[in-house]
């Protein structure tokens, strides 16, 4: 009998235990959310792939329930075309960090992007980055909302060869157009087969981001082409810039040719307009005695005030195809954290868009080690991107054609070039309305 009671009690406890186990399992399953998978596209250059891999590895470690898979943007003619094709084909990622503001209008029109200001903490995240108000406003879409998070900028500055400057007796980099021409004249007079400056003359629309556009922004004191959705080109500044390059080509300061190897590294040219990515390239490839430095973009002689330039911003967006908006937003916040920004500086030598780059102690060590980047950091508050207007690509194509005709070949006056440009842009815009 005793044995029987022990057996019954044992069976009872076992059954209870298995019941507890079942209940526990059930409760655990209900409480543990399913694992979320996000897809993140980054730019396809090696440094940014490295950065994206490091960041996602860290994120995946910290968030086992939200796993992010990183993929470089698939190869193609331009990232804008690939993203548009992805929207059309429904193959967009959840998050992409290579968004060019000039293409935002088309993505929004295609219904491809999530409104970022619908997230409750959007304002506090933005204000933590201390982005200058006017710069921040330049990323607001025409419907008053934000579809892109300002991420990184690459201000265009004047790169110059210190040694050639010294040889020519130039003590400081040129500030105004006439100073620029006098520097060019001094270099030309050296007669050592060095061209004072260079820009790619091919009429490819994005080439104008490295000559006409930064100089237009600086000459106009930070203006772009549109204001409140209306075409407002500063024609006087545009004429001055066309004339500046016209003089450079006419006087043979700039050659009309394409070089097979980098003309700056080989000492064939003394100046060019470029961004901070050039630093790591030059450091890797320069001969031991090669010296270079950067200076702000030259401005017209009568210009007073801060010198602005083109910032070449690339931003982060969440695609509306995502099934996990909240998780994607959390990941975006991780991508723009101070730690991530420091990695962006360290790995890619590209500047995060934030107002406290030189004050924030987090970045102090980096800038002390990379003095040349300090100039870009100082400039980053005074940058402009491109307007969020439809057909920006065709507008820049029109600029390229006028630039070629007026500045490179001198076939028309700057006034005529600007008049034609405005006329053509109006035709394009009227059609696209």
């Amino acid at each position: 009998m005793k044995n029987f009671i022990v057996l019954i009690l044992t069976l009872f406890f076992i059954s209870c235990a298995s019941d507890v186990d079942k209940n526990f399992k059930k409760r655990f399953e209900n409480e543990t959310p399913k694992r979320v998978h996000l897809k993140y596209w980054c730019s396809a250059n090696p440094q940014e792939i490295e950065l994206a891999k490091k960041l996602t590895e860290k994120w995946n470690e910290l968030h086992p329930d939200i796993q992010v898979e990183v993929q470089p943007l698939p190869a193609g003619q331009s990232s804008e075309e690939i993203l548009l094709a992805a929207i059309a084909g429904g193959t967009t990622p959840d998050v992409c960090s290579n968004i060019w503001p000039g293409a935002i209008a088309e993505y929004v029109k295609a219904g491809g992007l999530v409104r970022l200001d619908e997230f409750e903490d959007f304002d506090s995240v933005i204000s933590a980055r201390k982005i200058p108000r006017d710069l921040l406003e330049s990323f607001r879409s025409s419907d008053g909302h934000f579809y892109q998070f300002p991420w990184k900028t690459n201000p265009i500055l004047l790169l110059y060869n210190v040694k050639i400057f010294k040889e020519a007796g130039v003590e400081k980099p040129p500030v105004t157009y006439s100073e620029f021409f006098s520097v060019c004249e001094k270099i030309k007079n050296l007669k050592i087969g060095v061209y004072p400056g260079y820009t790619d003359t091919r009429p490819i629309w994005w080439q104008r981001f490295f000559d006409f556009y930064p100089l237009y922004i600086s000459a106009s004191g930070g203006k772009t082409f549109f204001k409140n959705g209306e075409l407002k080109i500063d024609t006087i500044s545009a004429e001055k810039v066309f004339n500046f390059f016209k003089t450079c080509f006419e006087r043979n300061y700039f050659p009309i040719t394409n070089f097979q190897v980098d003309p700056f590294l080989t000492g064939k040219i003394a100046m060019r307009f470029t961004g901070p990515w050039t630093i790591s390239y030059l450091e890797r490839n320069k001969p031991s005695d090669f010296e270079y430095s950067f200076a702000p973009i030259p401005v017209p002689d009568d210009y007073r005030g801060e010198v602005y330039t083109y910032g070449d911003p690339k931003n982060i967006a969440i695609f509306s195809s995502t099934k996990h908006k909240k998780e994607a937003w959390e990941f975006v916040k991780f991508l723009i954290s101070e730690e991530a920004d420091l990695l962006l500086l360290e790995i890619c030598n590209q500047l995060p868009i934030r107002g406290d780059l030189l004050e924030n102690q987090k970045f102090e060590n980096y800038f002390n080690r990379n003095q040349k980047m300090k100039m870009f950091a100082r400039q980053s508050a005074f940058t402009r991107g491109v307007d969020e207007a439809p057909e920006m690509k065709e507008i820049f194509d029109a600029i390229s054609h006028e630039f070629e005709a007026c500045s490179v070949y001198g076939a028309k006056s700057e006034r005529e070039a600007v008049r034609n440009l405005v006329k053509r842009i109006k035709v394009i815009l009227e059609w696209s309305k």
Binding site: L84, R202, E391, K393, E404
Partner: protein
């Protein structure tokens, strides 16, 4: 009897089916679709938007499109006469009793069968300003280098010369066929009457070759209007849009800026121009041949 006819009908329909399917899929459907596109704005991604005649409004204000048509006409005005003169000259030579006639006929036809892209890339290297073979020969002979593709004035004629070299073989064959269909008796009679070589050429050969000339003019006009590969690869339309052909401009609008509707409008407008030009050519050049 009826049964047989029906089965004959069926096999007849079956035999034309491949072409009918091809026609419907690759000719009729794209044609109808592009006609619909004329009244729409469509960038492939966003839904089509009806804009009535806005594409035409833009077309008539698009200076670059009219420049591209003028460029194409400049190309034709160099290419067609050059083509006819060169083709006729070589056809006459190859119609004589020369040694290795078959070999030469094949040789002149060779560029026609070689891919246009390959020919263009080769000529691009020949024309290169600093490193091109032609300029090297010129500078070695103490002459000045010619900016074949980098001068706005010379770029289009340079392309026309290349296109002539590429296509002339086909027209030589056509002229050869035309020459061989002229009765020999006419020449014999002319010789008895004491006609000179030139007289025979202008009074017999040229008038009797009229149908072939019309064919060559029409074919090379249509071919010339569709000038695309050469400027696309060699110059990208530059310098200063001097080699921007109408087809290249339409292509850019469609596949570079994604303006499908506008490109379709340009395409239809351009097709109308080609039709008018070919119609006028036939009206003024075609003659009755006895």
């Amino acid at each position: 009897m009826v049964k047989v006819r029906r089965s004959e009908n069926r096999s007849g329909y079956l035999m034309v089916l491949p072409y009918a399917v091809y026609f419907l899929v690759f000719v009729a459907y794209p044609l109808i679709f592009s006609f619909v596109l004329i009244f729409h704005r469509w960038n492939i991604v966003t839904p089509m938007e009806f804009i009535s005649l806005k594409n035409f409004v833009r077309l008539f204000r698009d200076e670059l499109f009219f420049k591209s048509i003028i460029n194409t006409l400049i190309f034709l005005s160099i290419h067609i006469p050059l083509q006819i003169v060169v083709a006729l000259f070589f056809a006459n030579l190859l119609n004589q009793n020369v040694k290795l006639r078959g070999f030469f006929r094949a040789l002149y036809f060779l560029p026609v069968v070689v891919s246009g892209v390959v020919v263009t890339i080769l000529w691009q290297q020949l024309y290169a300003y600093e490193t091109g073979l032609i300029n090297q020969i010129l500078s070695n002979s103490g002459l000045r280098k010619i900016p074949w593709l980098i001068s706005p004035e010379l770029a289009m004629p340079s392309i026309a010369i290349m296109a002539t070299w590429k296509n002339v073989g086909l027209y030589i064959v056509l002229f050869l066929a035309g020459l061989q269909s002229i009765p020999r008796e006419l020449y014999e009679v002319a010789e008895i009457d004491g006609a000179s070589g030139l007289q025979k050429f202008f009074k017999i050969t040229l008038p009797l070759l009229n149908p072939t000339i019309v064919l060559v003019v029409v074919l090379s006009t249509i071919g010339g209007f569709s000038l695309f590969i050469e400027p696309y690869i060699m110059t990208g339309g530059g310098p200063m849009n001097s080699t921007l052909s109408a087809m290249l401009y339409i292509y850019n609008q469609a596949f570079y800026f994604n303006h499908m509707g506008y490109a379709a409008t340009l395409g239809f407008f351009f097709a109308t121009i080609i039709f008018i030009v070919v119609f006028l050519q036939r009206k003024f050049i075609e003659r009755e041949v006895y």
